[in-house]
Amino acid sequence: MPGLPVVFFIMAAVAIGTAVGMLVSRNTIYSALFLVLNFATIAVLYLILGAPFIALTQITVYAGSIMVLFLFVIMLLGVERLPHSRSLPWQPIVAVPLVVILVAVLSVNFFGRAGALDNIAEVTPAFGTPALIGETLFSQYILPFETTALILLVAVIGSILLAKSEKPSPGQAVRRLNASVPSVAGAVSSSSKEVPAAEQEKAVGK
């Protein structure tokens, strides 16, 4: 029998509330924080469902590293200071019927087949522990596991290549270092001319 109903309903309410909060929030940082809370509640549900390893992976990988990456990028770009764009009038007109169709299809499938969900397997306490997951991962699923390693390697190389601005020669790197002293990202090249020579000397000294 998976789950205490009370805990489930509290967690479900929090999960849906934070998901809605993420969607309607105008500040991107608030959206990210709502999503972190959402991931945490889902992790509690994983614990109830007998998946402690997945629950802790959810906390460390999703709420930990992925959302921290999101917050880094939000703060790096300064998105919250951008002006809000005008809204597109036809966007909800197209989106809402599509979502209604999706909800209809989901409900038909859900309520049409809910009777097949009655048989819940009995599991041992060892179900979903890191030992069992690791054993299965390294025996039956070793090839997908190694493929994942390759995917992560490609992702690391790709993101470094993408985010690298340009190939700086050693001289350029020093000039960039000088120019970034005024620390206005957009006006780097133009502002470096306005800095007096004495100040530039100081910056090099530092």
Partner: protein, 100 residues
Amino acid sequence: MTPVAYYLALSAVLFVLGILGVLLRRNALVIFMSLELMFNASNLAFVTFARMFGGVTGQIIVFFVMTVAAAEVAIGLALMVVIFRQRHSIDMDELNSMKG
């Protein structure tokens, strides 16, 4: 309704909310977060079915989904940084330079 049905219903609701976010918002970062929400909804369904059938394969799939999502986020956010550097906007409506 059985407890399994509750979990699947929650998964469906979260997935629909993610779809709404992708369709209605135009901030690329929020669209990305909605994608993560949809990943989570499907992961919840996988874990629910793993518990229902008593097999561990569903949890293994969730593990793979998480690692691929991490790779996808790294690439996607790098792309977003590059786009923002060039156009000073991450509004999806403004990224129309390939429009004929």
